[in-house]
Subunit: 414 residues, 2 copies
Amino acid sequence: MSLRELGIRAQAAARQLARTSSAERDAGLLAAADGLEAAVAPILEANATDVARAQRGGTSATVIDRLRLSPGRIESMAAGLRQVAGLPDPIGEILDGWRRPNGLRIQRVRVPLGVVAIIYENRPNVTSDAAGLCVKSANAAFLRGSSAAITSNTEIARVLRQGFAKSGLPEDALVLVEDTSRESATEFMRLRGLIDCLIPRGGPSLIAAILEHATVPYVIDGDGNCHVYVDAAADLDMALAIVVNAKTQRPSVCNAAESLLVHAAVAERFLPRAASALQGVQLVGDARAVAIVGPSRMGAATDEDFSQEFLDLKLSVAVVDDIDRAIDHIARHGSGHTEAIVTSDLAAANRFTAEVDAAAVVVNASTRFTDGEEFGFGAEIGISTQKLHARGPMGLRELTTYKYVVQGDGQIRT
Amino acid sequence: MSLRELGIRAQAAARQLARTSSAERDAGLLAAADGLEAAVAPILEANATDVARAQRGGTSATVIDRLRLSPGRIESMAAGLRQVAGLPDPIGEILDGWRRPNGLRIQRVRVPLGVVAIIYENRPNVTSDAAGLCVKSANAAFLRGSSAAITSNTEIARVLRQGFAKSGLPEDALVLVEDTSRESATEFMRLRGLIDCLIPRGGPSLIAAILEHATVPYVIDGDGNCHVYVDAAADLDMALAIVVNAKTQRPSVCNAAESLLVHAAVAERFLPRAASALQGVQLVGDARAVAIVGPSRMGAATDEDFSQEFLDLKLSVAVVDDIDRAIDHIARHGSGHTEAIVTSDLAAANRFTAEVDAAAVVVNASTRFTDGEEFGFGAEIGISTQKLHARGPMGLRELTTYKYVVQGDGQIRT
């Protein structure tokens, strides 16, 4: 089937889903979860094919680990669907409403986007997680995974679609693209009129391809070059705990800190302690930081180091003269994801949160909290670093739009 | 100055604007309004240059009328700035807020987008109107008008910038692009990192160029192929008034009706009355409509007629067997702008508003109400036909985004 035909199926399913009740969609998610548990054997068998192919192709052990499923991982996928089924339904919420002088009643009502497309890599669990969030929010999921996981994804999609159909939902609530060629990816992102929102989950080359080729609306899940700024008025013990946590608790994720800024007034006291606490973390700094920590522990940072998302145990460090310099540095190098200040000074906290332009500005806590679960959304489809539509963690609410419902009694415009 | 340099100036101004109070921005708008009134003579002189050039080039009278300024039109621009200054400030609104189990306090706060770019045609008043809305919402306005209006736009921008500067706002709160070449338009829509939101106000070729070339985020102000569906249970007098108003009150705008759908049960009674009331409107219909109205009054409609935004005194007409066919027809041909039903049947009204996917779904009123002023927004920068970010009329609120402000007491993630 052509991509366009697949899109038309997803669109038809989206129209059906928009008419379903929350209870019907939840039943579909639970049936799909049951289906996954009943299909552990065929899913593992399909996955073994993908893993064997990857091993033959010399794929790295880390990547193969992300690709590999286990009974426990399939159980987690099922549990994820059940958890999403238990979340409140975002659809139908009346965002606001008012009456006009001419008697028109206007309501702004939350509705599904329609067809949500997701391009993703490796992990086959995304097939189930993304479908769950889309169907919960009454959207059809139009999914394009990687060629490496195609056998697993195809089997998972078959099982989920069967579960949806069993409970009366359209099976095309989940449409998986089986052609994983590069040409098909480009065609996919140009299905304007069939895709209402595309969410790319992948590296910089995928984002670049979207910017260059996409004609469908999209939300960018981008880089996180996150900073921790230790202010002159910081509690240095707290700052130390936050910096260590933000950098090392899980360095490979987008809300990990990549850069440390320290006010000059506390740099001499703080930086040696930080360098010692950040065992195993490679440090690169500006001249003032290196002068304090010493060149044996800290290399010289280039301008590029300060703009880079290392996603690794590496941290760039700069000493700044005041909060203005910190805010300027972040404006110049930050990626608009998460920026934290450690301070006990109210004015500094207020200025930082007001003037730093990022999805999340954090006072006295780790950058690592910017995600859907930690924010209390129950689930997350990604973290937006753009300003339009959704900013920061994207949960069910961010998979919706609104429409105006206008009720009159024959009003005409004069 | 290069486009990139202009963008950097706008971005610097946006950072300054984000720190201003509502009172400071309102003062800037009032000073700009005073400036316009004091500069009627030089603005008219600049405009005369544009008008003379257009006349030499053989531009049509309609287009020249849109281009031409008068003391009254300049007065309206000033009045518009004063009116926007009087609107409530959207910035700083706390959209929601909650406390997490670990004690983190999370707030979602409305903030400016940053640099709002607008590409527009002819009418020089857009320079002032757009700058007013942007500055009110603490955004820098990065404007690119047409070559036809460049002398007028340059003079208006000079006056507004002077007004802003006089009251302490950055003059680069308004940056006008003076290079109106086609290459510069393409470069403009690729200033990723400098433009936070691009709003194109122009025809299909501009929209196509945006889809093809833009790498900056954008909101499409698209077509309105709006329908009026006259249900079996419609009050036919009301339906007649609504159809005539929706089609003829101002046929050249996007919220005018382009298509009439009539339930078969009332078509024989309604269509002859409608054909007679729609004096001067060219009618094209499907076979059933033509059979009722007669081929002398109604031509045969092609499939293309039903998908077209005529923006003129022309209406396509179809007879449908039931509300399902009406909803299907709209799903197939509509552009997602405004769709109206006339009915006294509650179930029909509920199904129509629930199942029709458009920015505005209207019961028993004219399609012509979908605009920012009629919705009570006080002002409008355009009408979005996309689903991401903003849908329907875009007022000040739609020129904003939000950030999460997270406050802790040293929380780290475990």
